[in-house]
């Protein structure tokens, strides 16, 4: 049992974090809200991110969900716009189409995917639009998008219709990967929101002192950190379970997403409250991340859905009974 990234894994994560810090600033995000589509994907692709879990002879790095989810946390920290979790999840499923694989690895065009019947984020800009149905995967052969506004303008939801055909691969695993990476992004987003709130609490003065000196603010932020801290290990557990195809993988992915969704909500609300009215405006950075949290905490199943999923695995859905 060694519950930590090893040196290589940590170096990879740090390299991604460095690249992102420069490339994906709050101003870039603000631009993405108003439609500018920044060329953010290529520098990441150059780090090999989209091929992390591909074998080396296919142009990948032969790694696994462990590294992928560590990267996804960093993507969340900067609020990376676009269907990152979905693209990262889907790339290993397009190995039989070399042109598509190449464009995926190069970050040229994202991939879009959702559970059948759900709105699909960023489908218009995607090279392929997939849907999962249990263990099946299908691809839209001629997708028609009906636009639906998301609470987060960078997500450009579509209700996709049109013919589909079957696509090789395990839909369950594709769903689990996208779910895990979304959970990891929520953890990263939470770190960022908490950092913003702490910085604001140190700087903002009322009643002649920094508001961070008030115990009510201190304890609210401590509780936010508490929720966040205990959402971290489940991400790594789920990543390892997926990588090793453990029996508990589906439970672990659901645990990770449920806890990350709840933690992100707790952190977001604490950060907003600490920011006061300023957290409510377009001019401060907080809401760029907050809106993403509101979307991602529900994407790929909200906490309730994942608790229900775990309940099924734990055999808690047998019979009914009431007292009195």
């Amino acid at each position: 049992m060694h519950f930590a990234l090893n040196e290589d894994q940590a170096m990879l994560r740090d390299a991604v974090a460095d690249t992102l810090q420069d490339a994906c600033t709050a101003d870039v995000l603000r631009a993405a809200w108003t439609g500018t589509n920044p060329a953010l994907w290529r520098p990441l692709a150059e780090l090999g991110i989209f091929g992390l879990s591909l074998s080396e002879n296919r142009g990948g790095m032969g790694l696994s969900e462990v590294e992928e989810s560590a990267v996804a946390v960093e993507m969340g920290r900067v609020g990376f716009p676009g269907p990152f979790a979905e693209t990262l999840a889907a790339v290993p499923f397009i190995t039989h189409q070399s042109a598509l694989l190449e464009s995926g690895l190069a970050g040229d065009q994202p991939l879009a995917v959702a559970v059948e019947g759900h709105p699909i984020a960023n489908a218009r800009e995607a090279a392929r639009v997939f849907q999962t149905h249990g263990s099946e995967i299908a691809v839209f052969t001629d997708p028609t998008c009906t636009d639906l506004p998301s609470v987060d303008p960078t997500r450009a939801l579509c209700l996709v219709t049109g013919d589909v055909r079957s696509w090789p691969g395990d839909g369950q695993r594709l769903r689990q990967r996208a779910t895990l990476f979304t959970a990891a992004m929520l953890v990263g987003l939470s770190h960022r929101m908490l950092d913003l709130a702490v910085a604001y609490a140190k700087e903002r003065r009322q009643f002649g002192k920094a508001i961070g000196t008030f115990q009510a603010v201190q304890h609210r932020l401590a509780d936010a950190l508490l929720a966040l801290r205990f959402a971290e290990a489940p991400i790594q557990r789920a990543a390892f379970s997926l990588a090793t195809q453990a029996d508990s993988a589906d439970i672990d992915v659901s645990t990770a997403k449920a806890m990350a969704s709840e933690a992100a909500d707790t952190v977001a609300r604490a950060a907003l409250q600490v920011h006061g009215a300023n957290g409510y405006t377009f001019e401060f950075d907080l809401h760029l991340f907050h809106k993403r949290v509101i979307a991602l905490q529900r994407a790929w199943g909200d906490a309730r859905w994942h608790r229900a999923n775990v309940a099924g695995h734990l055999l808690l859905d047998s019979k009914e009974n009431t007292h009195a």
């Binding site: 559970v115 759900h118 709105p119 639906l148 506004p149 998301s150 609470v151 987060d152 303008p153 997500r155 939801l157 003065r205 009322q206 009643f207 508001i211 008030f214 009510a216 603010v217 609300r269 907003l272 409250q273 006061g276 009215a277 957290g279 409510y280 405006t281 377009f282 001019e283 809401h287 907050h290 809106k291 509101i294 979307a295 529900r298 994407a299 199943g301 909200d302 309730r304 859905w305 608790r307 229900a308």
Partner: protein, 375 residues
């Protein structure tokens, strides 16, 4: 104790309902935080006023109905149940007007109240400044005495729908040597004059809900002082802590929302969320009944006192719980911004912040009701 409505109250309710049934717009108006939407809302306010429903608790002479507080609650219940548009004159009627009723001169009442009720002149509150939020006494905007009035300078912020208003009201430091609560005066400032510029602030909904107001030697006539000079703090606190605690969010709003949540549950039943739905429904009823209790006391000559703070804590938390439960019922569909629950959710998140943060309210409850020591 008698928890049934009187015949007169029943009749009043029936009259409200009949008018609203016949007049509430079939399709929702555009958001009142956009310019076009705001105009549509103003038109609705005028219609409301013409029919005598704009200010039911005001004297008949001013366009009201001399309604009791209890009748006002009934009106609010019916208003929200009908799905009628949000009131863009809310702050005018429930924040500025009570101040004028209590502290205004006869000239001020004659000049200001009638056009306010008729939505002919629109007002925006201007309490906060960049460095005076929770710490309202830290006001830095100044009012320099000149012939016939003052010249005001400074910056006000978070003026709700300020971008569409004709005038603002708030506290200004008339005694420049003063500190904190002392030396402030309560002034009304015409925004259509040189020296006033308004900058809209986009909110979480991407709309111009707020404005920042920059004041540079703008003129305020002597007649726009409410109460006495340098006594602005007393005037402001008197209103914010009295009726305001009742009128800011009336029970009707949550009764209607909880009933809509029941409908949503029936359309998207989800047993693991059922108890949360029931809990919000119960709380909306408890909020109503508690308000009846407070209003009964006020009608007997009592004050709202610290119930103002307890009310604010209760409804702001209830509102978030209610909207969040709705989103959870919608599951993946909640993200689609077109659903009205998402807008309500985002707005509910501001509840613990505006009109005095919930931290400030808890401080007030601790010191004034529980009488816990400050130091």
């Amino acid at each position: 104790m008698d928890l049934t409505f009187s015949d007169a109250e029943h009749a009043f309710r029936a009259e409200c309902r009949a008018w609203l049934d016949a007049n509430v717009p079939q399709t929702p108006l555009q958001s009142h935080n956009t310019r076009a939407g705001f105009q549509a809302h103003v038109a609705w306010e005028k219609a409301l006023h013409q029919a005598g429903w704009a200010v039911v608790s005001w004297p008949k002479a001013l366009g009201g109905r001399d309604a009791s507080l209890m009748e006002w609650l009934i009106f609010e219940e019916e208003y929200y149940a009908s799905g009628a548009p949000a009131r863009v004159t809310q702050n005018d009627i429930f924040l500025l007007a009570p101040t004028l009723f209590e502290f205004g001169t006869q000239e001020q009442k004659d000049r200001i109240l009638q056009p306010m009720a008729a939505a002919e002149v629109l007002w925006a509150q201007a309490w906060s400044e960049p460095n005076a939020g929770s710490d309202l006494a830290n006001v830095r905007s100044t009012a320099r005495k000149v012939d016939g009035g003052w010249r005001v300078s400074g910056q006000k912020t978070w003026c709700s729908r300020g971008a569409f208003s004709d005038g603002i009201y708030g506290l200004f430091r008339t005694d420049t040597n003063s500190e904190r609560h002392r030396g402030l005066s309560y002034l009304m400032v015409d925004v259509h004059q040189p020296g006033v510029s308004l900058r809209p602030v986009e909110d979480l909904l991407g709309e111009e809900a707020f404005a920042e107001v920059f004041l540079d030697d703008a003129f305020v006539p002597q007649t726009n002082l409410i109460g006495e000079e340098n006594q602005g703090w007393k005037v402001a606190m008197s209103t914010t802590s009295s009726e305001r605690g009742l009128s800011l969010r009336s029970p009707g709003r949550f009764i209607a929302a909880a009933d809509r949540l029941l409908e949503l549950y029936r359309a998207h039943p989800e047993p693991s969320l059922r108890d949360r739905v029931v809990d919000t429904w119960m709380k909306s009823r408890a909020y109503r009944d508690n308000t009846f209790r407070v209003v009964t006391r006020m009608m007997q000559g009592g004050t709202i006192g610290a119930d103002s703070s307890l009310n604010k804590l209760f409804w702001s938390e209830l509102d978030i719980q209610l909207q969040q439960t709705a989103l959870d019922l919608l599951g993946p569909l909640a993200e689609v911004a077109e659903n009205p629950w998402m807008d309500s959710y985002l707005f509910s998140l501001a509840g613990p912040i505006y009109a005095g943060t919930n931290e400030i309210q808890r401080n007030i409850v601790a010191s004034r009701v529980l009488e816990l020591p400050r130091r």
